[in-house]
């Protein structure tokens, strides 16, 4: 274990990038997910269609391909770049890919949350003369958000684990799994303690998140 721990700087660095990727992507995917959900339930058929095509399309594409496209298509092909340094440029491209992908799952969770709201409430809101957007903002989304805290926690945990793909799919973002691969390839560290160490690192990130969201979902559940 000492040989593994002597690399602690690289490990901490790797996990700090994992956390940065997760938090920023979670924020963007949440915002995009809400917009997509609003579009998917909106009265305008065209918006509904566009959101459905987006969600069904991206959701059924492997994340590896999405991130490859961000690297090869958006960066090399379209010349899209976010930052001067390569390190940050690939970081933002990975955030873009992860957010675009995760937003689909956020949107699916939210849409199922909307299904849990008794339609009487929505009809009551409409009969009071609330417009669609007022209805969404004041009646539907607050309740839907509370009822999908649990599933959103699962989406977040999946996102934490998915950040590992960003290091390898055409982008080469630095993060924990890449550090592990590098250590294996150099052959200098004992493999099993290294693997267990990184696994514990991910357990530390994932387990508390799961319990936090489980606790939150119980606390925030709408009493009916």
């Amino acid at each position: 274990m000492e040989a593994f721990l002597s690399n602690y700087e690289a490990i901490i660095d790797g996990f700090s990038w994992t956390v940065r990727l997760t938090l920023i992507s979670a924020l963007f995917s949440f915002i995009l997910g809400i917009i997509l959900t609003a579009m998917r339930v909106s009265p305008v058929p065209l918006l509904r269609g566009m959101a459905t095509v987006y969600v069904e399309g991206i959701r059924n594409t492997p994340l590896t391909l999405v991130l490859l496209f961000c690297g090869l298509g958006l960066n090399s092909g379209l010349g899209l770049s976010f930052a001067e340094s390569v390190e940050w440029n690939v970081y933002w491209l990975a955030v873009l890919g992860l957010s675009a992908y995760t937003a689909c799952f956020v949107s699916e969770a939210l849409r199922s949350g909307i299904n849990t709201i008794p339609f009487g409430q929505i009809e009551a809101a409409r009969s009071l003369g609330l417009t669609f957007l007022q209805n969404m903002r004041m009646i539907v989304l607050p309740q839907a958000l509370r009822s999908v805290v649990g599933p959103l926690g699962s989406v977040l945990i999946a996102l934490i684990k998915n950040t590992t793909v960003a290091s390898v799919a055409g982008l080469g973002v630095q993060e924990a799994s890449r550090e592990m691969k590098l250590m294996f390839d150099q052959g200098v560290v004992p493999v099993i303690p290294t693997f267990i160490g990184f696994a514990i690192g991910f357990l530390i990130l994932c387990l508390p998140t799961g319990y936090l969201f489980g606790w939150l979902s119980k606390r925030l559940a709408v009493a009916r």
Binding site: N60, L65, E108, T116, V165, C206
Partner: protein, 343 residues
Amino acid sequence: MSVLGQKQPTRLFDAPGPKARARQRVYSALATFLAIGVAAFVYLGFNDTWDEVAAAPGQLFSADIWRIDEAGQWSAEKWNPFLDPEIWSDMVLPGMMNTLHAALVAAVLAIVFGIVFGVGRLSDHWWIRALCGAVVEFFRSIPLLILIFFTLAAPLAANQLLGIPFGTFQVDPLTAVIVGLTLYNGSVLAEVFRAGINAVPKGQAEAAYSLGMNKTQVMGFILIPQAVTSMMPAIVAQLVVLLKDSALGYIVAFPELLRGFSLIGTRFNNVIPAAIVCATIYIIINISLSRLAMWLERRNAQRGKPTPAAATAPGGPDAGPGDTAAAAEAEPPESGEPVKRRH
């Protein structure tokens, strides 16, 4: 029914009157405009003519800009490889076979793993419960990719740990992908099976015990068959995830579908067409599998056996990290919606 069979949430808004219809037309026009803008940017970008527009926006209206550029990604030359049967028979179809092979083997193994550990978590002996619980939680919480990397490094580990010399055995990428997919999806399926078994009405097991069956018989003849039937949509949905995750094989140079397309992309310098065709193939396969899951769910519902959603309710005793059983969470059982798929 709108695009792709989404149920229309008609009760969220009134049937539009003339004013609302006019407003909707405005929104539709705005959305179309925006979509056309994005599409034009993408088209010109991959056509290698966007730089000229960016330099002089006035050129946007000249036909030269819009003509398909020979060097760009839309030129016929870059799409022709996909009309060549040899490309399909030499690169795409073998890749697809490899993807399906890995996915099929991993699916069978994951289901076995899932049943063993799902039932194990319901064991009467606390140490079996604890052991199975630890295994399931562990493999559910760590990324698939580091499992695959670890499997690939197994010869190195054997060397360091047991002194087995290098070259005694090797782990090929196919094995690594299958092992990773099995452990991860198997532990997710274990939770699905556990939820399904818990959702079978108590009376069933009691009746079987009163007929004189022992615990193994009750599990094997009464509980598991019913759990599998009622959880079928969730199981199929997880198999879609498995199939999609097999694309991670790309990273460890397993010659699967995505790898085949990236080779085509490099050989013909047509990355974008290759990515588009590849994505389309994946989308078609996965949407058909999801349709199968939906059909199974509807069939179950008709037989008066809705997918047990309550068993996996949020915050329930099962709610753990990476909850796939959460698939059915927040989904009212009567909604008739498909079980949501995880990543």
